[in-house]
Symmetry: C2
Subunit: 385 residues, 2 copies
């Protein structure tokens, strides 16, 4: 029995999380939209130039706000990758939309930008881009489609903190700032965390006022507290999308250490890449591909096996050696819930990533010893060591 | 300038909240459904005999789960009080339901059980009871209607922790255990808190399995972890309704002190009641009424002024004396969002509570000196001292 026990993910404390939670209690506000929510909002606005942001209880919630804000109606079609988290789709299904699933690139799980146009119909309302592993999709191509067909562009930026799209003149544009709306996640597996949490980014100012209302349970409470209306009441649909100050306080402590977190994560990512390169060169695995128009925010490190069977064996072998590695999404167009609603197109790349992709342990507190042990164990599995 | 500064609400720490948050971090799980979520579930099952409970990010979320679970469809009618929080209605409006608002009793903000039957049509799907101030509605009458017309009964038990309905044979039945489904709140203004938070109670076992799926973003992840299925995937609609372990850990510390919290809150409630009784006897105000079929969980203390104008003056006067007292709901049938959708019936008692009800400061850390000062100040306002 191996003594190692390297989990897939371990939440990292930067130090002040609980101090800020105490402070929130002393400020006598634990419900939403208090001091720490505002500090988090300011952080994102200052650092990334996001015009309007609203913390949410989850990225799912932020996506549901997007679906409400663009007035998704029964019969509307929404195009998105099949290789994504269920919430990307559920948020729009809850509003009655039909999901049109697009295939991934062969070289990357992101939705193939060249395969979107043929899916657009008169019913298409929006394209939802999910930047997998924090790696930008080809936003020039997708923005062009959105403009030509007068659609909404929504970024599922769940994994995208501190990641950028690099445009034609080599300018770095923060992911989450490109769509009309975008959704981030601070779930415990993300680069910065608060357990469960997310954020809506509003880049099109037409949505700003209504976003606040929907966030505040359909009331104009925010406008009331700014003195813009005399009393507040029920003015629209909405939900309780705002998180507790407990979560915002925790998140703010993490954000203060974003540079340090990113530095360490990039180190881990590069370690894996450098040390597993020989396995790719020998044809055993494929390593992540970062296109020239994308940056790497070191959200995750995955490798691609050659088959589902091989991946299962690798995961099992790593488990016996005390290493927890995990696969990721299953193609949504083949899910029990959607297979009968899907239009029958084959999406082979999405299925390939469903079968072959495995994510390696990835968190701040991984030691060099852990990393060395993990890559050595993978090499032993492939008889490459 | 008065030196007093008595807020309407102040979150109360029982002591171990932050200790448990640290423990959750050491257990390496901050996302939902971990150790503390399960401890909270067990607490409610053991203490109140609730068969199946699921913590949620808010009571709003729990109500949205109810609307999904009963398959609310466009065209369905849902009967509920007009004097309630917007989320009671929004949860069903989001699924396309038409809300049929019922008037309150004259003696209590709860929906008048004798005025419900005339609102039932062939389209009625559910009755949503909101037990105001944690005080039970007349559940015998309402359950009888639900059974006769084959409807769903949902309890908006947001304010109802540790409160009971007393039945014909004098048996105390916990609120939240009577409807097919029920929703509780742990928002910072409630008796036990975690900032923002709530809980779904499933009393009808037909909903148990699907409740777990909807809670887990429409996946059968819970069944997977119990070993009931080989892999989990997208099987239904759903959302991210589960709260972080940060919030569950905080809540569990509060639950451990529930007895102590309730004892102190009952003391405060009785203090107000005893010391303001003379104002009621002189006809200046009305005090809360607890019907014989209800217990008092000391969730809030309100008084009823004789008019909107008098209430405004009282709130303003208390403010100048350093006391924050606040009104509560505005009749939803008259809201900007719903007035054109309402069928035009007058709901005079709901409007009366909207105009006349004022809530006094109410939280664990109120001192006897604070309480004495508050009642004296109210008496001075009414020239009764």
């Amino acid at each position: 029995m191996n003594q190692k026990n390297i989990t897939f993910n371990t939440p990292h404390l930067t130090g002040k999380e609980v101090h800020y939670i105490y402070d929130a209690v002393f400020n006598k506000q634990l419900s939403g939209n208090g001091k720490y929510t505002k500090l988090c909002h300011k952080f994102f606005q200052d650092r990334y130039g996001f015009k309007k942001v609203l913390l949410t209880s989850s990225c799912t919630d932020a996506l549901e706000m997007c679906a409400l804000l663009i007035n998704t109606q029964p019969g509307d079609e929404v195009i998105m990758p099949s290789y994504t988290f269920v919430s990307t789709a559920n948020a729009f299904v809850l509003r009655g939309a039909k999901i049109i699933f697009a295939d991934s690139y062969n070289h990357h799980p992101n939705m193939d930008a060249d395969k979107i146009e043929s899916l657009i119909t008169s019913k298409t309302k929006a394209i939802v881009v999910m930047h997998y592993a924090g790696v930008a999709n080809d936003m020039k191509k997708i923005k062009d489609l959105v403009q030509r067909y007068n659609l909404y562009l929504i970024e599922d930026a769940a994994q995208c903190i501190d990641s950028y799209y690099i445009d034609e003149i080599n300018k770095k544009i923060p992911l989450g700032s490109i769509g009309h709306l975008a959704a981030f996640s601070f779930h415990e597996t993300k680069n910065v965390i608060c357990g469960e949490g997310g954020m809506l980014v509003v880049n099109d100012e037409r949505f700003e006022k209504r976003a606040e209302i929907i966030w505040e349970k359909g009331t104009n409470r925010s406008a009331f507290f700014r003195g813009e209306v005399n009393k507040y009441g029920w003015v629209d649909v909405g939900s309780s999308f705002l998180p507790s100050e407990l979560n915002a306080a925790f998140l703010y402590a993490q954000l203060e250490h974003l540079e340090q977190i990113q530095q360490k994560r990039l180190f881990i990512w590069n370690y894996y890449y450098e040390h597993l390169k020989e396995l790719e060169e020998k044809g055993f695995i494929r390593l992540p591909y970062i296109p020239p128009y994308a940056t790497n925010n070191a959200h995750m490190f995955y490798i691609l096996c050659r088959s589902l069977e091989e991946r299962a064996k690798l995961i099992e072998y790593l488990k016996t050696q005390g290493i927890q590695a995990v696969f990721h999404y299953l193609s949504l167009h083949k899910s029990e819930f959607y297979k009968d609603k899907h239009d029958g197109r084959e999406l082979p790349n999405s299925d390939m990533f469903s079968d072959n992709l495995v994510r390696l342990p990835f968190y701040f507190d991984l030691t060099n010893e852990d990393l060395g042990y993990i890559v050595d164990t993978i090499k032993i599995f492939f008889h490459a060591k």
